[in-house]
């Protein structure tokens, strides 16, 4: 279990971040009020890039990072900050957009400018094929150091963070499962909802982690509890809110967004480790709107983007934006992380095993 080796983000701790172009040193401090004095990260002047991006006129953004309305919120925040650039948004599950992207690349070109999957394993083949733009957004250094350098060569960066957690119907379930293994208990027979690793990047991460931690038997026992299998991980939230199922292996963000809007749903960070989903963002090298794509990617390190993340119950990237109330800061979360290698190597097998055991 790799934990805390990837992200460390303490409420009161101070990360020193060097700011490349300006050369100064800025403090980026944790979101919690405890603290070492206010700091004010300064965003670089991107007016030149903005002017060029305006000539591009639009950016086509494919994302699996969050569900539809959250994605629309991000697009709206971008358009507000940078008027004159339209965002063409496509939200689909990670495996579906990845297949589509590769199909289009094979067919001679894609409309996609900015590609945001939730399966980091999708990126190495794209790098290998020479499809990704090697680009470091100027404001990348405004997020905590541990968030930077997701890909050391700068072909992709972090665009969002989420977790696979246990979500449940809060008005019907008094003692929700505490760990992933609890979902195997017979009391949840016919009451579980999940997504499908062949579609959802989140679910792929979860299944890969479960197989590594508990072996094939986990899926076999889970199958005995007759889970309802959806395509996207977000559908588990719909199932729970609608009362169709009572517990699920679902996303933190969309569950919390529904909770915030008054639906009877809540989440538990499993004691055997929530499965973290770092959402990478990469720019297509052949993009006809490369400046808009770069501006859009850089926008992900703006305060506005982090605020939009928080308003949709996602974790913020910037440390000067506090997470939504009621969720632990990331350093307090016990989590399991799949490395890129594990995703590249193990996920296809995990999907095959899932199909075999679950029947779909």
């Amino acid at each position: 279990m790799n934990r805390r080796d990837f992200l460390r983000w303490t409420g009161g701790s101070v990360a020193l971040v060097s700011v490349g172009g300006v050369g100064g040193l800025l403090e980026a401090c944790g979101g919690a009020p405890a603290g070492s004095g206010p700091s004010k990260p300064v965003e670089k002047d991107v007016s030149k890039l903005y002017a060029l991006a305006k000539q591009d006129g639009s950016v086509t953004w494919w994302t699996a990072h969050y569900e539809q309305s959250a994605a629309e919120t991000m697009a709206a925040a971008f358009k507000k900050k940078y008027p004159g650039i339209e965002v063409n948004l496509l939200r689909q599950t990670a495996q579906v957009i990845n297949t589509r992207l590769n199909q289009e690349l094979k067919a001679g070109g894609t409309e996609c400018d900015v590609f945001c999957s939730t399966d980091e394993g999708h990126y190495p083949p794209l790098i290998k094929g020479g499809y990704l733009d090697q680009y470091t957004p100027p404001d990348l250094d405004l997020i905590p150091k541990d968030f930077q350098n997701l890909n050391p060569d700068g072909y992709y960066h972090l665009g969002a963070i989420g977790f696979n957690v246990i979500n449940f119907r809060s008005d019907k379930v008094t003692t929700p499962p505490k760990q992933w293994k609890d979902l195997l208990d017979a009391q949840w027979s016919g009451k579980i909802t999940t997504g499908h690793p062949g579609f959802s990047g989140y679910v792929g991460q979860w299944v890969t982690a479960m197989l590594r931690t508990y072996g094939d038997q986990y899926l076999k026992d889970l199958a005995k509890n007759k889970p309802k299998i959806n395509r996207s991980v977000n559908d588990t939230v719909t199932d729970i809110v609608a009362g169709e199922r009572q517990v699920g292996s679902g996303p933190d963000n969309f569950s919390l967004a529904k909770k915030a809007s008054g639906s009877p749903i809540d989440i538990v960070f499993p004691t055997d480790g929530a499965v973290i989903v770092p959402g990478p963002v990469g720019i297509l090298k052949a993009s006809k709107r490369i400046n808009a794509a770069r501006l859009f990617t850089n926008f992900m390190y703006s305060k506005e983007y982090s605020e939009a993340l928080v308003s949709t119950s996602n974790y913020p990237l910037r440390s000067d934006v506090s997470p939504a109330t009621g969720v632990p800061t990331i350093d307090k979360v016990k989590y399991i992380r799949n490395t890129v290698d594990q995703l590249t190597k193990d996920l296809p097998d995990a999907i095959a095993k899932w199909r075999d055991i679950m029947g779909v």
């Binding site: 063409n88 990845n98 409309e111 559908d235 809007s261 075999d356």
Partner: protein, 567 residues
Amino acid sequence: MVQAISRRPDLSFLLWAAAIAVLAFLVLVPLGWLAWTSLQNPDTGSLTLDNYRVAFTKRIYLAPIANSLRMAFSVAVIAVLAGTPLAWLVARTDLPGRALLRPLILAAFVTPSFLGANAWIFLAAPNSGMLNQLWAALFHTEHGPADIYSLNGCIFVIALYSIPYTFSLVTGTLELMSSEMEDAATTLGSGTFRTTWAITLPLAMPAILSGFLLSFLEALELFGPPAFILIPAREQVMTTQLYLFFSQFPPQIEVAAAYAMPLLLVTVGLLLVQRRIIGRRRFTTVSGKGGVRRRMRLGRGRWPLAVVAFIPPLFAVVLPYGALLVVSLQQSWGRGPFAPGNLTLYWYRWAILDNPVTRTAIVHSLEYSAAAASVAVVLATLIAYLVVRALVPLGRVLGFVAMAPFVVPGIVLAIGFLAAYSRPPILLYGTAFILIAAYTTRFLPIAYSNGAAILQGINVDLENAARTLGAGRLHAMWAITLPLLRRGLLSGWLLVFIPALRELSASVFLFTPRTHVITTVMFDFSDAGNYEAVSTMGLLMMVVTFFVVLVAYRFLGRDVTRGAAQA
């Protein structure tokens, strides 16, 4: 045919050649590529039977085939058992409310079954379904009896929307049948029931059989309802398996092509069987000539029968549209319509005004469907003209090619289009053209059978008269035949436009984010459980569809449904 004197050089052959070329491009090339792809090694491109071995030896790929056949057979049986009596009641009896039944069944006919499937998820999901909740509240049980997430649930939904095929075919026959033969039986002492059984039913047999086969084929090739209902139920049919071959990475297009082949063979086989059975027997009694048609009196049974007769439209139209409306009017469906602030027009505003994707998707759907309908009608009319007027050798072959897409499931056609046109020299993937071409191809048979039927009714002497007077063939066609065809062409156009507007199974493979249509947007939203958005989009699509149907009715009367069912 050469006796006409051409004063100008006859350039009409150019038009014919172009029509034949387009036909080849739309039908032969994609299907050819499909067959070729199924034999290719994905890595080396060399010839192999490996794809077939993979597709037909693994247990997880074989189970869907059994499920597909079981589902198609069950759907067809239910559709015929419900559709035939319903047709008889409406066409031949004094059933109360029969005038209302017809538009309701027409409404079921134009409702895409994937929308019905979504609605039935709201109605009959085991725990959250509205009907189940009602049941649980009435009888104080933990949950209701219905489970839409099952193979039977899927069969039920598809059958609901298949009933109109049998219904319209059988009513068509029964309405042309005079009462004389039935009267003869009655005179000879036969009772109402026996007469119907011994006389009416056998006469309607070809229509019933066609209804059975249409329902069977439809159920076999449908993608939407299984995708919505069966994936959660952990069941697979062939079309969802084909989708999985595609959506995984890397997509196994070669295996998918191999897997699609039996689907193609089964549909071709069934169609040949239908031709055989119907072609051999002659039912000249149903001549369409005069004769008296009297309605049978149902007597005391009429009210109970009326109640039963309204069950299919209740399940196919009233309840589903009610459920869609209720869901679309809620901010968040799970909270119930009476939760504070939950009842809203938010999603309509979102779909029509706020969201650029849904807005452009609606525009795209209208544009592509209109373009496909126009191309299909022009092409079908030209081909039908060639065939009916026997202007080219092997005309029958052309007619066969134009009808061939009828047996090609949407998904299979899409695979063929992808294989053929997502690489040079003809790169259509990513453009609107591939969708328009796919719609044109899928619904060409409707336009063709419509066009051929009308052309057969126009005597060639009319054109010959014009040509004797010196007009070229094109001129004669333009000045004489076309005006006579106008009404028929309009009906053909509508008959293509309506199914194209709601096409899902080919669109889902061929769209790109720039060429989103209503159905693909709905499919995307459904994958994350955005049911409020799906319901709203579905209802908006149906508003457009019903508007078009109403216009069609205004101009064409009842021919609309009959043409669609025959095609």
